[in-house]
Amino acid sequence: MSPIAALVLKDLAIELRRKETVVSMAMFGLLAMVIFAFALQSASLATGGDPLNNAAAELWVALTFAGVLGLNRSLAIDLDNDALQGLLLAPVGRGALYVGKVLSNFLFMLLAAAVVLALFVVFNNLLLDARLLWVAVLTVLGTFGFAGVGTILAMIAANTRMREVMLPILQIVLTMPMIIAAVGATARVLDDGDPGTLYVELVAAFDIIFLVVSYLVFEYVVEE
């Protein structure tokens, strides 16, 4: 079995036993969506705007907050009982460690995103058509970039005195350009079914750049 597969299976086994990360992420994402839908749609009803205009924003705010929560959880699993020390001592390349962690974070975020997305469809009375396919593609792309950079940022935050504060700060400022592009694309899809290839390309470009740069510098974050 390859080291990367072993790392992902390890996180999966922990999650299957504890069932904490995905559940808490989905719950938090749902609540974030409800709060923002409530706030924004009350405002747009008061001013006479179309509530669907805010739908893309609600979805991405929910995914962003849920994602940060999930990264904090996933890091806590590694820091408890100094499990990270064990991982670093294992005869596994730092790159494999990074990729394994990205994949398991990505997997958990996708599961939570699927729950959020399903409720998003119902709450916004969306039809099950091609637009949803695009929203799903954008969610996968955005979540992947989020996990890619978030995995290294969680390790960075773990080295600071204020881990719970630094992770959201770093994560939000660094992924915000990508989130802006993703919200733009989602809003366009919901509006007329065309996300605009440019926006999708931007999200994909952020994915690739974040992943490659993070992969290259990851070893400096975990060195002793």
């Binding site: 770093l170 400022v173 350009p177 802006i180 740069v213 993070s214 510098v217 400096y220």
Partner: protein, 224 residues
């Protein structure tokens, strides 16, 4: 002594820049006198980009060589860069209020410049919150690399977004051809702002070197 000469040259350059920007350059026809903010607003923005790229280069050089001078360069350039980005945004607001009628708008260009400044504020926070001195430099360098990657991305994204949504509010001033005299004024003011960056960076580096020397001597004294 060299810093002192540079300081005097910078001061002289600013006096010249004020002459060129406020007196020499012709008054812009539609916006009037307030357009003269342009001669400092644009150089401050470009200088902040340069400063953040220096953070990236210094960070990569530090990770490759482990020479603390590169870490100092990156760290100090980030501090100065945040000041220039702040000046760029503040001058932009002073210009926007009379011309657009608003201080701020969530336009792609403004938003991305604000985010870039915030990324490097977060970079400085990471450094401040790491207690272990030997771990601080490499981890901060990783954040520096991830942050500096955003400079070219943001630059490109701004152009892409502009062609996607041509917005009249950001067309003012530069771009479609500049009057020759205005070009001269911009070059002089740009040189003055660039000199100010170099001067501030050198002074900040001198302070940082002294601080590290004192820290080292403290350790030597307490060890005995």
């Amino acid at each position: 002594m060299k810093d002192r000469t540079l300081g005097i040259v910078t001061l002289a350059a600013f006096v010249a820049a004020l002459y060129f920007a406020l007196i020499y350059a012709p008054t812009e026809t539609t916006m009037g006198e307030v357009q003269r903010i342009f001669y400092f607003h644009v150089p401050a923005g470009i200088t902040s980009y340069v400063a953040f790229l220096v953070v990236g280069v210094g960070s990569i050089a530090f990770l490759a060589t482990r020479d603390p001078k590169w870490d100092r360069l990156a760290y100090c350039s980030a501090e100065v860069g945040v000041v220039f980005a702040g000046a760029n945004i503040a001058l932009g607001m002073l210009w926007a209020k009379p011309v657009w009628g608003i201080w701020w708008t969530w336009d792609a260009r403004l938003t991305l410049q604000l985010l870039l400044a915030l990324i490097f504020v977060a970079y400085l926070m990471v450094g401040a919150y790491i207690s272990d001195a030997s771990r601080r430099a490499p981890i901060q360098a990783v954040v520096g690399v991830l942050g500096a990657v955003n400079v070219p991305i943001n630059y490109l994204a701004i152009r892409i977004w502009r062609t996607q949504h041509p917005s009249p509010v950001i067309a003012g001033g530069e771009g479609s051809g500049l009057d020759a005299d205005m070009g001269i004024a911009l070059a002089v003011a740009g040189a003055a702002v660039g000199l100010l960056y170099v001067y501030l960076l050198r002074r900040r580096l001198a302070v940082e070197r002294t601080r590290q020397e004192v820290e080292y001597l403290e350790q030597v004294v307490t060890a005995q």
